[in-house]
Symmetry: C2
Subunit: 206 residues, 2 copies
């Protein structure tokens, strides 16, 4: 049987998102470890599936490919409780997904990638670069805190793909040099996400 | 009657997206000019609507606010031909929207903002910054060209919010120093978007 295949790098928060959602939704899939750092996304056979040469990449049972972690979340969550049924709540779910890719990932995940993830980057970021990531990253965390100090979840009143998308890099923000001490709303929410049914940590594989 | 209100900066591609879509869908709205360059998004009354202090911001007829241009597109297009009815096509529509915010806007729109839009930025970008935006921006344009050299539209076989999102800054890419001569697929698609029913240019206001 041809099921879903996920091309994925284990230590990438973007790749963790669809792994976590598929496990929580009970969708079986095959994992193919794919390391951009070893050039594996620039090979012709991979670029034929994703011209943007990035992981994660989801290949559907019929062989068609879907790039972009947050597009996968919306695609897979449709018709499940992980996508809000209320139209406005769904709109705010979209809002958090775009916020994640524009304001959060480019600062918090990028700081982590230079400070903790890629051996060839560690020690090479300049103090000015790090300060820039931290200034913008703390601003993004402040926007999250404003929501989470008064609400259990990011979109509407229930756990959704918005929480999965933001959890992916927030829960390892310390690896990018971020300190969440002054963000009690975020810390409580991180614990709630980790207690959802079927939750698995980032190093989980099917 | 309280209808939709859009807080918007006229010369911003992100703000153009919901203006264009709402006009094409026949949704009336009130426009409130809001200039981040004059600090208008950092005022308390604006931050109460959008803690992220950004335009565009859409306020619904019931008074609730929705930030993020691409979230507005998905919210407003639901149930219309501008969001693909086919599930996979809808997935690829999501994909292009996230691609736009992650790979396209931060390079092509940012180059334009420094080279042509904000008077206090013009002339201040370093050659290294400009080269970085161009290197990444041309890569993003290459991903678009690969799709558009063989297809009329980005997602599925019809005009959708994916086309609106990418049109917003691609059609003014020259203002960021980008040359589309070698991108005939993109140039043909720009002309197709500008020929869709109800199309209005970026300087249009309701």
């Amino acid at each position: 049987m041809a099921g879903y295949t996920l091309y994925s790098m284990q230590n990438s928060g973007n790749c963790y998102k669809p792994r976590l959602l598929m496990h929580q939704l009970g969708i079986p899939f095959r994992l193919v470890d794919t390391d951009p750092g070893r050039g594996e996304t620039r090979k012709d056979e991979f670029r034929a599936l994703n011209p943007n040469a990035r992981v994660p990449l989801l290949v559907l049972p019929d062989g068609r490919a879907l790039p972009e972690s947050n597009a996968m979340l919306l695609y897979l969550a449709e018709g499940t409780p992980c996508l809000p049924a209320d139209r406005y709540d769904r709109g705010t779910c979209y809002q958090w997904l775009f916020f994640e890719q524009y304001d959060h990932e480019p600062t918090i995940a990028v700081a982590r990638s230079w400070l903790s993830v890629y051996p060839d980057r560690i020690g090479k970021a300049t103090p000015e670069q790090i300060a820039g990531w931290h200034q913008k990253g703390y601003k993004a965390l402040g926007v999250m805190e404003q929501r989470l100090k008064a609400h259990d979840w990011l979109a509407g009143n229930a756990y959704s793909v918005a929480d999965i998308a933001l959890y992916a890099y927030t829960h390892v923000a310390d690896e990018g040099g971020f300190d969440l001490t002054d963000y009690p709303g975020i810390r409580g929410w991180l614990a709630r996400v980790a207690s959802t049914p079927g939750f698995v940590p980032m190093d989980w594989r099917p």
